[in-house]
Symmetry: C2
Subunit: 148 residues, 2 copies
């Protein structure tokens, strides 16, 4: 079995996308992060959902979550207001995590090795031009390996 | 809306569980990590799936994934052999990530704030004895906040 057999389609975002739109893409998929690609579809990095929350929430909430409890405003409004007019690029941390990539004919052991080196439970599958064709999640990989 | 309305049941493991069993629990759920609880069901930490791979795979695979490609053995066998007879406790990193926890009546903004402080896209929901009753994922939280 090869990477192509385990690869699934995955939504991606570009750096210039409004972060509010990106938050909706993030919510719509069952993954804790978003794959960010360049204009040609080549994977650049992963935007973690926890990073989106960190950038969106007022500092007083993060420093003392008990204070968040007394805010008399819907959480969605606070988060969307906090994101404001920023783009995906604005939300990315300065040190961007690498999104590892493999070719479609990588073996599953190769995929597991690439994933083990990163802290990201996701590996991009790319073609010969480094354009992303899909991705392999940790769950998907383990499902195939352990037949659950 | 409160934490209890967004909380979902979640499989947990204890530190003394054989890591092979834990890998199967990990594969069976759609989450990139496993909640580790003590004997009374109180959350201790999260075991990331990437950490399981790091502990299971031979070092030569991780240092050079291209070498993994030439291993003439099924990936599942390599991983299960690599885990060997170790337990969950053996696989946990020395610096264990905290799993944040909230009470069932926490507001969603409070949940978001607690999650923003951590790098874990998961918050445990606990009762008054700190026993875990469920968990809130980043996806679940955003689904409710952004109505996707």
């Amino acid at each position: 079995m090869r990477a192509r057999d385990v690869s699934i389609p995955m939504s991606t975002v570009t750096e210039d996308l409004p972060a509010r739109e990106a938050a909706k893409v993030l919510a719509a998929q069952d993954l804790p992060g978003l794959v960010v690609v360049d204009g040609r579809g080549r994977p650049l990095t992963v935007l973690a959902g926890t990073q989106v929350l960190r950038m969106a929430l007022p500092l007083y909430c993060q420093e003392d979550p008990a204070l968040a409890r007394v805010v008399d405003e819907a959480a969605a409004d606070v988060i969307l207001d906090g994101i404001g007019e920023r783009t995906v690029a604005d939300l990315l941390p300065k040190s961007r995590p690498d999104l590892p990539a493999v070719s479609a004919d990588a073996t599953l052991l190769e995929v597991a090795s690439v994933m083990a080196r990163s802290n990201v439970p996701l590996v991009a599958v790319v073609d010969k031009d480094k354009v992303m064709t899909g991705a392999i999640t940790l769950d998907g990989l383990l499902d195939h390996l352990l037949h659950t």
